[in-house]
């Protein structure tokens, strides 16, 4: 962006050494993205509670601020003021690092997501591989959290959700590969450009979109696949031993992942930032929030699946569907 080259040359003119001036634009981009994620997460927490409330014929938060809009802020303030408890028998370093390992990749994925024609932190030409790799990190953080908690139930919960996450990564990536085939590139910006020239890929890949939606619900640990959060909530789960700000970071990571997957879905299937009248960033946000609303709608509708039903669905249901989708897409691309 022009602003960043201007910033860079301005700093060099002021006499700042070159290595330092080279660091500033990426840091500023990272800060902007971080702010974007945090503000959106706070809004999303409120939106989730309101959507859940209205789907249950009740209102969500209403008293903190007009229609409860500053409820998330109140929650954040409460969590910051809580005592940081690290239980006695935990593996201290792993315990402390687990929320960070969860949050950092969710944040890093935003580097390659196009918010507009030039609004992209770094347009990698292997963006999809980058995304697939980073979204796998959540598995490591779950294992770290579950193992270090020194708690049988946390470990079991972590093991179950690890199995869930790695099973659903395969159909997720295969459905994404089908889109990459159609666009002819792995770079997200080029996929958006390709959709601008033809049509939104959801029209040609309805099965692919459904597979992606289901697999991302499983990756996000959201209902109907939220065993690691709800079933054992009464006993334990991977995040039982976490309190205060550490727990807040894990919770925030969930919503950051939600935004990540929504951004990827809207880029791959709904045409990213393209749209007729409104500015590109506004279109992008509309599509992201539509996908998020869809995910929330599904969460408050469908009952939870059992762990064996979940594994069956992943390996015997989604994987064949995504492979068939890939095959048909490949044939279509060959003929075209």
């Amino acid at each position: 962006m022009d602003m960043f080259t201007a910033m860079h040359s301005g700093l060099v003119q002021m006499g700042v050494p070159l290595w330092l001036a080279n660091l500033v634009p990426p840091l500023v981009k990272a800060l902007i993205l971080l702010l974007f994620i945090l503000l959106n997460c706070m809004f999303l927490i409120w939106m989730e509670r309101k959507v859940a409330g209205h789907m249950q014929r009740r209102m969500g938060p209403m008293r903190t601020g007009p229609h409860g809009i500053i409820q998330s802020l109140a929650d954040v303030i409460k969590l910051i003021s809580k005592e940081d408890i690290i239980p006695n028998g935990v593996d201290r370093w792993v315990f402390v690092l687990a929320p960070i390992v969860a949050f950092a990749p969710a944040f890093a994925v935003f580097m390659v997501i196009p918010f507009g024609p030039t609004l992209i932190a770094q347009d990698l030409n292997i963006a999809l591989i980058f995304i697939a790799a980073l979204t796998s990190f959540v598995v490591i953080s779950f294992l770290m959290a579950g193992w270090s908690s020194n708690n049988k139930w946390s470990l079991l919960g972590a093991m179950r959700s690890t199995a869930q996450l790695i099973s659903y990564e395969v159909p997720l990536v295969i459905s994404v590969v089908a889109v990459a085939l159609l666009a002819g590139s792995l770079s997200l910006q080029e996929i958006v450009e390709a959709q601008r020239e033809s049509f939104w890929y959801i029209l040609v890949q309805p099965v692919g979109f459904l597979v992606f939606l289901t697999a991302s619900l499983a990756e996000l640990n959201r209902s109907p696949f939220d065993l690691s959060e709800a079933e054992q909530e009464l006993v334990a789960g991977y995040n039982t031993e976490y309190s205060g700000m550490r727990w807040a970071l894990l919770y925030l990571t969930e919503y950051a992942n939600l935004i990540t997957f929504a951004a990827i879905a809207s880029t791959l299937f709904f045409g990213g930032w393209s749209g007729p009248v409104l500015p590109p960033f506004v279109w992008f946000m509309i599509k992201v929030y539509f996908f998020i609303f869809l995910v929330m709608w599904i969460r408050w509708t469908l009952p939870r699946v059992r762990v064996d039903q979940l594994m069956e669905l992943g390996w015997k249901g989604l994987l064949p569907l995504s492979l068939v989708n890939l095959a048909f897409t490949g044939v279509y691309v060959l003929i075209r």
Partner: protein
């Protein structure tokens, strides 16, 4: 192969059916009554705390017959009265109703032959001080006069003319 596709179709159909139900719920107005700012409309015949009714001139109708105290299953009504020279009706001095014992059953109202008692619409009786939860004669008479919601209890309308 065919059963697989049939399963996929059934799964999608049931999911969309569920989504339609919650979608419809989302656009129908919420049924929440936001308590401190809004209150429910009380049904006719709602039994709040029993109150003493006054006639048109503002005098209590109670003649201190103590039938209500005797009818009360938990004996929460305490009555004291005295007889004045030359008057037929006893003067009511003390009428203490302990709201922490009262079960709001309405038997006292049913027992009163003079329509001097009725169940009001007051249910917000919480207090920090236990002493304030014993309602005396003047407080009950005041609430009886202030009653606005129409409650018909065993034929007695509060805030209006008695029906029998």
């Amino acid at each position: 192969m065919r059963t697989f596709l049939a399963e996929v179709y059934k799964a999608l159909k049931s999911a969309i059916l569920g989504l339609k139900v919650t979608g419809k719920n989302m656009v129908t107005p919420a049924i929440t009554v936001q308590y401190p700012d809004e209150r429910l409309d009380l049904p006719v015949g709602y039994r709040g705390i029993p109150v003493l009714l006054s006639d048109a001139e503002g005098n209590l109708k109670c003649v201190s017959c103590e039938l209500c105290a005797r009818a009360c299953p938990v004996e929460c009504i305490e009555i004291q009265s005295h007889r004045e020279e030359g008057k037929k009706i006893k003067v009511l001095d003390v009428y203490n109703l302990d709201a922490t014992w009262c079960m709001y059953c309405g038997l006292c109202v049913e027992a009163c032959p003079f329509d001097a008692l009725a169940m009001s619409d007051q249910y917000e009786l919480a207090d920090y001080d236990l002493k304030n939860l014993v309602f005396d004669r003047d407080r009950l008479a005041e609430i009886g006069r202030r009653q606005v919601t129409e409650t018909i209890n065993f034929g007695i309308k509060t805030g209006g003319e008695p029906t029998r």
